[in-house]
C-alpha cells in the first residue's frame, strides 16, 4: 500500500502540468475566439446600424416627398422666405395661391397645422403605426422644436425583434430652401448617423404640357416627359383625328421595300405583346419576346427590340453594328476609313447622332462626349435612341381613348418611349395635381415684371422718333413700308395659308426693352432684341368675329381682297371692319433675342390676328455661360451683351423666354431647310405652339389653349382636334391643313426638331403645380 501511494504522487506532477498546458491553451483560444466574435459582432453591428440609418434616410425622404407634393403653389420660384412659410404654414395671400391637397391613401383626422412640418408630424403621429418607444422620452414624440423648424419623430424598427431601428429628424436649414434629414441607425448600442439635404423646389419635369392635341412628327425627338389633358371634354375624342397624341415613327417611309415591312411587322408585335406601353419589346420577357425573331431582333444588344434595331440591321452593310452616315465626321471623331452606309435622310441621322449631347453628364460638350458617340457621324447603340426619352402622360383613360378611336392607342403613338428609372412609360388618367390644367389667366401675375421692364426702354417709335429712329440714325437699320414688301401668307410658307399680310419690314435693327405697338404686323429681319420685347395687342377680343374681320386672300387676278366682306368685330363697344390694326401678327426672321418676348394677353385664342412667327436662323439666349452661345460665330459679342444685363433682370427673364399665353406661336419654317434653324432656351408659354423645320429647344413648352367646339376660333365650326401643339412636319392626312401630305412633298426634308427638357430652369409665376424635393447627393454626410 505504501509503495502504491508513492507512485500515485509521481503521476500527479505530469498530470497537473498537462492540465496547466491544456488550460492555458484553452484559455488562450477562448480569449482569441471571444475577441474575434466580439469584433465580428461589432462589424455586423456597424453594418446593421449603417443599414438602418440608410433605410431611415430613404424612408424619410419618401415621406417628405409625399407630404411636399401635397402643396400646390403658383409662385414660380421658391425662395428662402417662401420656403420657411411653406415649412411652418405661415404664408399669406401675398405669397400667391397656395393650396394643400388631401393626402393620397391615408387620412389625417386632426391636422395640427398647415405647414409641411405639421403634415409630416401628423402623418408620423396619426398614420404610421410601426414606431416604437425605446426610451421614456420617446413617448413625447413626434415633437416640434419651439421655433417649428425641427421635427423629431419616434424610432422606427426595421426588424421584428426591434433591435435595429432608426430615428429621424427633419429640419429646415435657416435662410435657405433646404431641408436636412438626419437619420440615426441603432443596433445593440452601436449608432451610425447620416444626413442629407433636400431642396424645396417647384419644377415642371415635363418637356411639354398641352391642353390641346399633341402631334410629334417624323424627325422629332423629345428628351423629357410630355403630357396633354386633351380628351377630357365631351366630344373631343373621336375616330377622325380626335386623340390626345399622334406620334410618327422616325424610320417609316425611308425604305418602302424592306424597312417599312419590318416596321409594320414590329408594329403588329407591339400591339400584341408590348405589356408596358413603351413601344419596345424585351427579348428576355416571357410575353414581349413571343413575336421576336427573324427581322425582329435585338441587333444592337441593348436588351430591347426597337425600330432602331430594324434600322441598324437594314443599313449596317459591313456588319459592325453601326451605321455610318458621315464618313468625314466619323474620321474627325477618330473613326477613319469608314464608308457611308446611310444617306437617305441626313436630318434624321444628325438628329439621332446629336441627341443627348452631354453624354457623360459633366455639364460640357467636349471630345469625351464624342468618344461616347455624340456627333461622330455614326449611328449606333451609344446614341441611346429614343423618340421620347421620358414618359407620356394623359388625362384621359386608355379605354376612353381606344373606344373613341376604334383601335389601340399605340396605333396613334409610334416610336420608342424610354421612361426614367422606376417610371411607367405611358401614364393615363393623370389627376390635375400631376398634370395641371393650364389657362391663360394663370400667368397674369408673372407678366407684370415683363411688362414693367418693357416700359423702361425707349418707345418703339418710327422714322422720326424712338428706337426705330435711333437705328436709322446710326445707319445700321433699314425700313421698308408695307406697300413695298409684297404679300405673305399666314402661316409663313404654309400650303394652306388662311390669311395674307402686306408687311412692313424692319431690317438690321437693335432694340432694347421695347414694346412693339399694336397693329405693327411687321417682319423683323436680322434684328437683335435685348431685354424684354413686349408685343402689344387688344386684350378684349371675345367677339367671335375678331379672328376673321379684315382677313385677306388672293383674288385670283394677282391682287388680294377681303375674305369676309362686311364682317365686323367689336371691342369695348366699338365696331371695326378690320381687327388687324388692333392686333399684332408679327414675324421675326433671322433675329436674335437676348432676353424674353412677352405680350398682352388676348381674352380669346385668335390665331389669325394674334400670332408670332419665328423663322430663319433665329436665336434665343439668356445665359452668357451657355455653351451654345460660345458656339455661335458672334459668340463673343453675344456674351458681352448678355453680361451687361442686370443679373436680377436676367434671373426674371430666365423664367420664360417666350411668355405669350393665349397667342399662336409658330417657330420654324415649312420648307425644313437644313441651312437655317431656330434655337430657344427657357420655358415657352403660348396658346398653341407649332415647331417646324430645324428647331432646338432647351426648356419646357406650356400650351394653354384648350380648344372648345363652338367657342372662340371654333365659333363658326370645326373640331377641337384641328388645333394642335405640333412639333415637326404633318400634312392634311394627319389633320394638319397647313402642311402637305407626305406623298406630295417637294420640300427638302422633314426637318428636325429637338426638345430637351431643363428641369432646373426656373418657372414663370402663375402655374399651380405641386412642389417637390430635389435631393443633393453631394451633401450626403456620415457622422454628426
Amino acid at each position: 500500500m505504501k509503495h502504491a501511494h508513492t507512485r500515485s504522487g509521481w503521476a500527479t506532477v505530469p498530470a497537473l502540468l498537462m492540465l496547466t498546458v491544456i488550460a492555458s491553451i484553452t484559455a488562450g483560444m477562448a480569449s482569441v475566439s471571444y475577441t474575434n466574435v466580439r469584433s465580428a459582432q461589432a462589424m455586423i453591428g456597424i453594418a446593421m446600424a449603417q443599414s438602418a440609418a440608410e433605410s431611415g434616410l430613404s424612408f424619410g425622404s419618401i415621406r417628405l416627398l409625399h407630404e411636399v407634393n401635397r402643396f400646390v403653389i403658383d409662385r414660380g420660384v421658391i425662395d428662402s422666405d417662401l420656403a420657411e412659410k411653406l415649412w411652418k404654414g405661415t404664408w399669406t395671400s401675398a405669397d400667391g395661391n397656395i393650396t394643400v391637397s388631401p393626402p393620397l391613401g391615408y387620412i389625417v383626422s386632426a391636422p395640427t397645422g398647415s405647414g409641411v412640418v405639421y403634415c409630416l408630424k401628423d402623418v408620423f403621429a396619426q398614420v404610421d403605426s410601426h414606431s416604437i418607444e425605446v426610451t421614456t422620452g420617446d413617448a413625447l414624440l413626434p415633437r416640434l422644436s419651439s421655433s417649428d423648424s425641427v421635427l423629431n419623430v419616434k424610432p422606427i424598427p426595421i426588424d421584428a425583434n426591434e433591435e435595429t431601428y432608426f430615428r429621424l429628424q427633419f429640419g429646415l436649414i435657416e435662410h435657405s430652401t433646404r431641408i436636412l434629414i438626419t437619420s440615426v441607425g441603432y443596433h445593440n448600442g452601436i449608432t451610425r448617423t447620416i444626413s442629407m439635404e433636400f431642396d424645396l423646389d417647384k419644377r415642371i419635369d415635363y418637356a411639354l404640357v398641352a391642353m390641346s392635341r399633341v402631334m410629334l412628327g417624323r424627325n422629332v425627338h423629345v428628351e423629357g416627359p410630355i403630357g396633354t389633358r386633351f380628351g377630357t371634354d365631351i366630344g373631343e375624342l373621336n375616330a377622325n383625328f380626335g386623340v390626345p397624341l399622334v406620334m410618327h415613327s422616325d424610320f417609316a417611309g425611308i425604305d418602302p421595300v424592306v424597312l417599312d415591312g419590318d416596321i409594320a411587322a414590329f408594329a403588329a408585335a407591339i400591339l400584341a405583346y408590348d405589356v408596358d406601353g413603351d413601344n419596345r419589346l424585351r427579348p428576355s420577357h416571357p410575353t414581349e419576346s413571343a413575336a421576336l425573331g427573324g427581322a425582329l431582333i435585338d441587333y444592337d444588344g441593348d436588351q430591347y427590340v426597337t425600330e432602331m434595331d430594324l434600322f441598324l440591321s437594314r443599313y449596317d452593310i459591313d456588319g459592325d453594328i453601326r451605321v455610318v452616315y458621315d464618313s468625314a465626321q466619323a474620321s474627325s471623331a477618330g473613326h477613319s476609313g469608314m464608308t457611308e452606309e446611310f444617306t437617305q435622310d441626313m436630318q434624321l441621322a444628325n438628329l439621332i447622332d446629336t441627341a443627348k449631347s452631354d453624354r457623360n453628364m459633366d455639364g460640357v460638350m467636349d471630345s469625351v462626349d464624342t468618344e461616347l458617340g455624340w456627333n461622330d457621324g455614326i449611328i449606333d447603340v451609344r446614341d441611346r435612341y429614343a423618340k421620347i426619352d421620358g414618359s407620356v402622360g394623359f388625362a384621359v383613360g386608355i379605354t376612353d381613348w381606344e373606344s373613341a378611336s376604334g383601335g389601340s392607342w399605340q396605333e396613334d403613338v409610334r416610336g420608342s418611349i424610354v421612361p426614367d428609372f422606376a417610371s411607367s412609360a405611358s401614364q393615363f388618367q393623370l389627376p390635375n395635381d400631376r398634370l395641371a390644367e393650364l389657362t391663360t389667366s394663370m400667368f397674369a401675375d408673372s407678366q407684370t415684371w415683363f411688362e414693367t421692364e418693357s416700359l423702361t426702354g425707349m418707345a418703339f417709335g418710327d422714322l422720326a422718333s424712338g428706337q426705330v429712329q435711333s437705328n436709322m440714325v446710326t445707319g445700321s437699320g433699314t425700313y421698308i413700308p408695307a406697300g413695298q414688301s409684297g404679300w405673305e401668307g399666314v402661316p409663313y410658307e404654309a400650303n394652306g395659308a388662311y390669311d395674307w399680310y402686306e408687311r412692313s419690314v424692319y431690317k438690321d435693327m437693335s432694340f432694347n426693352n421695347v414694346r412693339i405697338p399694336v397693329g405693327t404686323n411687321a417682319v423683323f429681319d436680322n434684328c437683335m432684341f435685348v431685354g424684354v420685347t413686349w408685343v402689344e395687342t387688344t386684350e378684349d377680343v371675345d367677339d367671335p368675329n375678331w379672328n376673321f374681320a379684315g382677313s385677306m386672300e388672293p383674288d385670283g387676278l394677282g391682287g388680294y381682297s377681303e375674305q369676309f366682306a362686311g364682317l365686323t368685330a367689336e371691342t369695348n363697344g366699338v365696331s371695326y371692319a378690320s381687327t388687324r390694326e388692333l392686333s399684332n401678327n408679327v414675324r421675326f426672321h433671322d433675329c436674335t433675342f437676348l432676353g424674353s418676348i412677352a405680350a398682352d394677353v388676348p381674352s380669346e385664342f385668335t390665331h389669325w390676328r394674334n400670332k408670332i412667327q419665328v423663322t430663319g436662323a433665329s436665336r434665343f439666349f439668356l445665359d452668357q455661360d451657355d455653351p451654345d452661345v460660345a458656339a455661335q460665330s458672334d459668340g463673343v459679342v453675344l456674351q458681352a451683351i448678355l453680361q451687361s444685363i442686370d443679373p436680377q433682370d436676367r434671373e426674371q427673364m430666365a423664367r420664360s423666354s417666350v411668355l405669350m399665353p393665349g397667342w399662336s406661336v409658330e417657330i420654324g419654317a415649312f420648307q425644313n431647310d437644313e441651312s437655317v434653324g431656330v434655337k430657344l432656351t427657357g420655358t415657352i408659354v403660348s396658346g398653341l405652339l407649332d415647331l417646324r423645320g430645324v428647331v432646338d429647344v432647351h426648356g419646357a413648352i406650356l400650351s394653354t389653349y384648350h380648344p372648345v367646339e363652338g367657342e372662340g376660333a371654333l365659333f363658326y365650326g370645326g373640331e377641337a382636334d384641328a388645333f394642335n401643339t405640333t412639333l415637326g412636319y404633318f400634312g392634311p392626312e394627319d389633320g394638319d391643313e397647313e402642311g402637305i401630305n407626305d406623298g406630295m412633298k417637294t420640300f427638302s426634308g422633314y426637318g428636325r426638331v429637338s426638345l430637351r427638357a431643363n428641369p432646373d430652369a426656373p418657372m414663370p409665376d402663375g402655374v399651380p403645380w405641386p412642389i417637390t424635393i430635389v435631393p443633393d447627393g453631394s451633401t450626403y454626410k456620415e457622422g454628426t
Partner: protein, 179 residues
C-alpha cells in the same frame, strides 16, 4: 537503506522530468505561438475590416473619384490605387504597395501605411484591390474593394505554415450618384 533514492532512480527520475518539461515547454511555446498568431489574425482582421469600412465611407461620401479609364468607352477599371476627393476638397489616395505588400493612405500629400500583409495573392493569382465601374466615361457608379491580407509571417509556426489569407470585399456606390 530503503529510505533514499539510488543513483539509477534519480537518473531515471530526472530523465522523465526532462522529457516532461521538454514536452511542456514545447506545448507552451506552441500555445503561445498559436495565441500570438490568432491574436495577430484577429487584430489583422479587425484592422482590415475597419480599413475597408473607412474606404467605403470615403466612397459613399466622396465628391469625385479616380483614376479614370483611358477612354470614355471603358466602363470598368482595375486599379492598385483609388483616388477620392472629399466634399471638403481633401485629396485622399489609397495605394497598394505591391513591393512592401502594404496599403498606404495619402491624405493631401501626407502618406502613411495603414495595413500590412496585403499580398493580393489568391492561390497564386494576383488580384487588384480596387475595381472601379463607370457610367458614360467619367461618372463613377461603384467601387469594389477586394483585399487579400495575410497575418504577419513572424507569427507563423513551422507546423501550420503561413497564416490563412484573409479576403475582404466590399462594394460601394457613391451616394451622390445614388440619390
Amino acid at each position: 537503506m530503503r529510505k533514499g533514492f539510488t543513483v539509477i532512480e534519480l537518473l531515471i527520475g530526472m530523465a522523465i522530468a526532462a522529457v516532461l518539461l521538454t514536452g511542456l515547454f514545447a506545448s507552451i511555446q506552441t500555445s503561445v505561438h498559436a495565441y500570438e498568431r490568432s491574436s495577430a489574425e484577429g487584430v489583422n482582421r479587425l484592422t482590415s475590416r475597419l480599413l475597408v469600412e473607412r474606404i467605403a465611407l470615403l466612397v459613399r461620401t466622396g465628391a469625385s473619384f479616380g483614376p479614370l479609364p483611358s477612354s470614355a468607352t471603358i466602363n470598368e477599371l482595375e486599379s492598385d490605387t483609388l483616388e477620392i476627393t472629399t466634399q471638403n476638397g481633401q485629396q485622399v489616395t489609397i495605394i497598394w504597395n505591391s513591393i512592401d505588400e502594404t496599403l498606404e493612405m495619402d491624405v493631401d500629400g501626407v502618406c502613411s501605411t495603414v495595413l500590412g500583409g496585403v499580398t493580393q495573392d489568391v492561390d497564386g493569382v494576383s488580384i487588384s484591390p480596387f475595381l472601379l465601374q463607370f457610367a458614360y466615361g467619367t461618372s463613377l457608379q461603384r467601387v469594389t474593394i477586394n483585399l487579400a491580407v495575410v497575418p504577419d509571417p513572424k507569427h507563423a509556426t513551422a507546423m501550420d505554415g503561413a497564416g490563412e489569407t484573409l479576403r475582404l470585399t466590399a462594394s460601394v456606390m457613391p451616394r451622390a450618384q445614388l440619390y
